[in-house]
Amino acid sequence: MAKFKNHILVCAGTGCRASQSELIVENLNRAIEDNNLGDEVQVVRTGCFGFCEKGPVVKMMPDNTFYVQVTPADASELVTEHIVKGRKVNRLLYVDPDSHKVISDSKEMGFYKKQIRIALRNCGFINPENVDEYIARDGYAALGKALTEMTPEQVIKEIIDSGLRGRGGGGFPTGLKWDITRKVKADQKYVVCNADEGDPGAFMDRSILEGDPHSVIEAMAINGYCTGASKGLVYIRAEYPLAIERLKIAIKQAREYGLLGENIFGSDFCFDIELRYGAGAFVCGEETSLIHSMEGLRGEPNVKPPFPSESGYKGKPTNVNNVETYANIPVILLNGSKWFSAIGTEKSKGTKVFALAGKVNNVGLIEVPMGTTLREVIFDIGGGIKDGKKFKAVQTGGPSGGCLTEKHLDIPIDYDSLLACGSMMGSGGMIVMDEDDCMVAMAKFYLEFTVEESCGKCTPCRIGNKRLHEILEKITQGKGTKEDLTLLRNLSYVIKDTSLCGLGQTSPNPVLSTMENFADEYEAHVVDGKCPAGQCKALMQYVIDPEACVGCTLCSRVCPVDAISGEKKMAHIINPAICIKCGACMEKCKFNAISIQ
């Protein structure tokens, strides 16, 4: 990046691209040309900055000015004002919501202050389509070091000592997994990268692949060296076209540089990577399903053992890790296990990337040291709850996780504490909910997902989850009974206890955790016939306040089912037996006479 005086970094992650960041790049380039700055300023498309809430994000280098919510129309002003005249465009700078102060350096923003970026170290800094930029930031140095200075055993020891655990959900010690694969004797072994990120609301892996694909390639090669595999496979969701594109470019460049292929770094280590595409099945995040899918089969899981480390792809020992896990590897080798294990808690080392979403002010991708509390994440980084509403729950671990509540806000985020309170780390989805969210409906939402994504191989997941969903549906319809709560609980335990794979073994977690943490809300649904959050339509009733109603007849005319009756200029009445709760009347009423009870 030395040649140019200025660089303009534009986020080209999926989120910002959806907000026309490509057009911003185009307009910036035109403005640079118009001002004859082609030799001095370069526009760089980078991976995700993380601060998706304020996207599209544009960052000026070298002075670190962080512009937010930029539109294509702002491009020429950014060039003429910021670059040419050296004046910051104030209206595009971030305003701290508390102090109302303008902040131009991202390091000063609440969103970034508590973050430590290891897996995301290059996202938003480099052009992911240029291997030189990765190399300039010590890229492939770890691979070089491993191949030229270290034995596979030494590399694995370093990983084991670092305390790195799988970031895909289970939290199995990564080094140990590598060691098992290494020790199995076979003529062929495989290294697989699980990029089938399926949790709804999670996009960590996608962002890493879009923003820093080489880090994953490098780590896979290191893994190949350690385990004795010459072939790597990335199993990636077909729904991630941009990540696929960038990965393809990166693999091509790595091959051109001899970083993949024969005799890497002059050693006798040979390694290459191929892509395999997912096709829309959440269960393929489970490693045995993933392997079946790569073999051209239905993505149904197998009973473990045997584990893929012993018998995986094509029956050969296969090491499967997820994207974020791999992204950590090169830095660990360069900075050493001591550096890494100094970050985090006793049993969970390093950092974790979360996709923070839902009812928080700052939606985005964040990376925090293990041990950070939920409160810090939601209120300091996430900027608190949207629209000044009240925090109600946070869901971690996606459909496999649980809903945590106020009382859990101060627990440190790590594998074991989350598990202990009925949730799990999962792959890193973190959804914040406010007082308007009904927890029964939330559990139902997750079950709907599980029902749709269950592969159907084992009974408890295939039929059990369906029945769970049906009972929850019944409850949100106001037809639930106390007996249903007993059934719900028993069924949840049995599904967890008897399901074949991780999907079914965790699918009742949203139900159990909400039943545990929001028992009163379930009671309210089945005993009082009320939805405290006011979300369950069937439990709502639209009523007309006879005092406020002037009898204008507007509501009765707009009602699609003729549920409203009343004489002109007299108070009207809604017949709840006919009312379909569409809300049209309330919208039309000019006298605020209609309310929901």
Partner: protein
């Protein structure tokens, strides 16, 4: 003989793709991706051809096609509409947006309008959670969609 209505040149192309994949049954999913890319969807004849070229049974291909939600046996509309039902979008009201689309298009999820113009589907997280709720029409992403915006979005494609 199967009742074939597919253009010969595309069938040939598919055959070549399969050959490039070494007609290896393990590459079935890649072959199906390619086939769907070529034909837009995977009608029975295409699945039969893929089965023949990839050396697997038609039942197996059908079993795989019906397993993965990415594969479709019905042609998509000219403008495929997808509503993100990821959790982030859900808690920010995606369901209401979906209802509005259903109402205005008068189709269910997974269906195509009779004129072939729009098809409606749900997907799980495009990763633009910052823009929740998100709707995609073809390649275009609409962020922060409210039910009131649905009509405007459709009008954009209705002329």
């Amino acid at each position: 003989m199967a009742n074939i209505k597919l253009p010969d040149n595309k069938k040939k192309e598919l055959k070549e793709v399969c050959a490039k994949l070494n007609n290896d049954p393990g590459e079935l999913i890649n072959a199906l991706h390619a086939a769907q890319g070529l034909f837009g969807y995977l009608p029975a004849e295409v699945q039969e051809l893929v089965a023949q070229e990839m050396n697997v049974s038609v039942a197996h291909v059908y079993g795989v096609v019906t397993f993965y939600s990415f594969f479709s046996m019905t042609p998509k509309g000219e403008h495929p509409i997808s509503i993100c039902m990821g959790t982030a979008c859900y808690v920010r009201g995606a369901e209401k947006v979906l209802d509005e689309f259903k109402k205005l298009l008068n189709v269910k999820v997974g269906e195509t309008t009779p004129d072939g113009k729009f098809s409606l589907s749900c997907l799980r997280c495009v990763g633009a959670c910052g823009l929740a709720p998100v709707v995609t029409v073809g390649d275009k992403v609409f962020g922060r969609v409210a039910p009131e915006d649905v009509k405007t979005i459709l009008e954009e494609y209705n002329n």
